[in-house]
Symmetry: C2
Subunit: 528 residues, 2 copies
């Protein structure tokens, strides 16, 4: 059997990551000598004796000892041992009769506040066999993260929230098992990319102090947790490894993203941005990494804008405005009649209205109208105008301003300038669907040569896959978490000043945005 | 505070063992820097950061993470961490406010088929604070070990037997806790000296194959088992370490005994004998160790002899017979009226009858009487004669013959002779109470200069204490178990031949027993 021995992430024809396969759990077929009066080693010790020079510190958990004896005998001493990392050593996870090494499964999870995605990974080839997604069941107890943190302040609340997300994961595992015809117990290792709060809630650890100064989580690096400890429907002895967090607001999801981008291994200065409910920004290279974070996203998640909505069927996700006629061209998800505008649509609106001269660089409507009809009542599913308002603009401007200000604090902190940034990585689902040109036009993203702007997609899930498949990547993830210097913005005066001063589109200093400047000049919006 | 830093075993003015204190669990008082916006490490990581260069691979179990946060804060960041060995690394076992390093408890257990003894050990000084003993609650399911092994063939039977011995241990812990005013959870490490079957039953592991050729246990070296896994009423995260077995019939109790004797570190050839329900013999020095075992003891446990009984009040434990008058002098336990004869009394009877010329060297009554009244009916508590019979003699002769034959098989196997043995160690409770001269007279023990014959007492418990207090001793125990070469006697032809040929008192070859020979000559029983 020919077996792949490496795993790569290739995006836009660039190899971001290429690692050797060295997964968190491993399978090995062995043929043991049968015991006799002259060879009377105990069963467990016999098994360990064969495996322990390859897997240092290997131990057999108490609950597997009887099974070891039974399987060894029933299988005539030809068995497949599944071992997984545990602490600084290895642990036996399962023993099966015969040679089952060609069927070896792991699960990588992107555990988001809203959405949970599970990737079923073939640990032999590194390929994703299947995936399944679902909304995080914790939403029933609170859509936003603060409500959940509050609820988790009591033991019973923590239990409820833990059970909710474990149920979601078990549902995902069940669907994958049914589709791919295996039983959950065949999964022998699980990795999780999630923010700090989601990790705390998954593990049943109190997240209360995440949102209280000085914002100290209980744990950033939980290490290997046994699946049985949280009731996950995989092999009960499978390790669950949550990617390490940097702190309360830069979680394992961000570390996963950095890992998947490979920016921490390249000498050039790179910027990594993940805008979701929270926004996280990381700046750095192979020598240093700095990060900051803040509540960024509500304005872009549809919950705040007057006609905003989630990226669901009927959402306007793309908007183009003819600069001459001001006629609107839009697209909706699934092509249904428009219900509202989702995040990428809102960003398009702002960019297109600015380039059409409807609003000025400060984000103010130039004319008397203080709102703009994107979809007229006649065409909408609601029978009402779908409108983009001055308030919506102000909200997005605040978010954008915060991103600009945060980036500038980071740049100043390390003595670099905007122009030094050579590669830009957009992480997360929002980064995947946002129109790149619009994001640049409003100054959300930097104005770099487009081939140096990379959308990572679900980089939290990608990072979780890497750590599942490669010990080297896992060690890198821990190094990234250790090495990132976190800039706390909550009480940062420079940030507040820059935030107040960064309320122009795309940026106070237009020279940072040459392509946007050019477009504006072309359209007669600037007189240089 | 002045603290002991070593632990010694001294018997008969000889230092058998002297080791540095380096216990299985350790306590450390630490003062942590308080977190702030500029020092925002997570609580668990902060604690680990302070401890992990001293305790390599230290991890915090999931169930302790919330407690870490709470205690750190309530105790103003001044806490005592209790850590214990786990696999090849360390694990946090507990965290307490303030400095509690002067109160640090461990439990060493001698877990016998019949009796269980718990020693409460002060891990700071190495001193035994208290001890408590009880009968093994498994006896309710079967006094003899074979009945228990049979019952443990089913999952429910295993559960019953496990619960029975755990209940016994928890009762002992409860009594110690009450007497010494602590709560069970304060015990942070437990070590157990027990035979293979007792270890299997304690851990809930199937012992069925221990008594079926080729006599393969499930496990000889179970490693560290979490107390919570078996429901022991100590700190749930305390490691339980069972001393490793060599095989089905040379268990951790014997390894503990060797360890406590120190014979494995001395160049001179030593013989170690432990006669209980089973008999185990180990021969060796600092270069090699050989062992064999067999069902030895029923004849000596009182269950088999006509008027035999356990060593309980009213048992005749010492017998002297005037060679001239044949008058009997005896002592009973607690000085009560005689009820029966216990093991040491039976051995005395045999030796004294031989030296009084009542029986010959083949163990046959010389006269017409085929039995001997030890306590006449008038003096006994039962109102009947307490008698020592030819059948009783034959049973003891068989046991003695087996011990002789086994020793000879070992000696031949390693190319040594009886005269090469320079030190003799008698292990176990039976070895503690048996009259040395009588044991030599009947050839049960070798005839060495008396100062080179050492009674180890409860060496299983002593070995458990050593391993609890000293990592060096624990590693030695594993080395002893690995290095002992086991001679299987069950299908050994040489053994059967020697067994049949070793039916004389004290030995077929009287030259091996110079002091006995001398006594016999003095009494006119030999004509050389």
């Amino acid at each position: 059997m020919s077996v792949a021995n490496n795993y790569s992430i290739i995006l836009q024809n660039r190899v971001l990551v290429d690692v050797n396969l060295n997964p968190m759990s491993q399978k090995r077929y062995i043929e043991l000598e049968q015991p006799s009066l002259l060879n009377n080693q105990a069963d467990v010790d016999r098994l360990l004796g064969t495996l322990e020079n390859r897997y240092s510190g290997l131990s057999v958990p108490l609950l597997l000892m009887n099974k070891v004896s039974e399987v060894l005998r029933n299988a005539n001493w030809r068995v497949t041992a599944t071992v997984a990392r545990s602490g600084h050593a290895w642990q036996l996870v399962d023993i099966e009769p015969g040679d089952t090494t060609n069927r070896h499964l792991g699960l990588a999870v992107d555990l988001g506040t809203t959405t949970v995605v599970g990737y079923l990974v073939d640990m032999v080839t590194g390929k994703v066999l299947d995936m399944a997604a679902d909304f995080n069941g914790q939403a029933a107890y609170g859509a936003d993260i603060l409500t959940r943190i509050y609820l988790a302040g009591t033991t019973s609340g923590r239990k409820q929230l833990q059970q909710a997300v474990v149920d979601t994961l078990n549902g995902i595992i069940g669907r994958l098992a049914q589709k791919q015809d295996f039983y959950g117990g065949a999964i022998s290792a699980v990795t999780v990319g999630a923010n700090s709060t989601m990790v705390h809630l998954l593990l049943g650890v109190d997240p209360s102090r995440i949102c209280m100064a000085p914002y100290i989580p209980v744990v950033n690096l939980p290490g290997y947790i046994s699946a049985s400890a949280i009731g996950l429907a995989v092999n009960p002895r499978a390790p669950i490894y949550c990617l390490p967090s940097v702190g309360s607001y830069v979680g394992g999801d961000i570390v996963a993203g950095i890992l998947a981008s490979g920016l921490h291994k390249k000498p050039e200065l790179a910027l990594f941005v993940d805008i979701g409910t929270n926004g996280e920004i990381v700046l750095g290279n192979n020598e240093w990494l700095v990060a900051c974070a803040g509540a960024a996203g509500p304005a872009l998640e549809g919950g705040v804008a007057r006609d905003g909505m989630r990226a669901e069927p009927g959402a306007v996700y793309q908007v183009r405005i003819d600069p001459d006629t001001r006629q609107v061209h839009y697209r909706t998800i699934d092509g249904r009649k428009a219900v509202g505008i989702c995040g990428s649509g809102l960003v398009d609106c702002l960019a297109e209205l600015m380039l059409a001269g409807v609003i000025d660089r400060a984000g103010k409507f130039r004319g008397a109208d203080k709102s703009f009809v994107v979809v007229p009542a006649a065409d909408s599913a609601t029978g009402k105008d779908i409108t983009f308002t001055q308030t919506d603009i102000n909200n997005i401007m605040r978010t954008k301003g915060a991103v600009n200000a945060a980036l500038e604090v980071l740049l100043e902190g390390v003595g670099s300038r905007m122009n030094d940034i050579s590669t830009f990585y957009a992480a997360g689902a929002f980064g995947q669907y946002l129109d790149l040109e619009s994001a640049i036009t409003i100054g959300f993203y930097p104005d770099l040569p487009r081939e140096r702007m990379i959308r990572l997609g679900n980089s939290s899930g990608e990072g979780a896959k890497l750590v599942l498949l490669s010990e080297e990547s896992r060690l890198e993830a821990e190094e990234i978490a250790r090495n990132i210097t976190y800039f706390e913005l909550n009480a940062n005066e420079a940030f507040m000043n820059k935030f107040v001063g960064s309320k122009f589109l795309p940026h106070t200093n237009l020279d940072y945005y040459p392509t946007v400047k050019e477009k504006m000049i072309k359209r007669g919006l600037l007189h240089d």
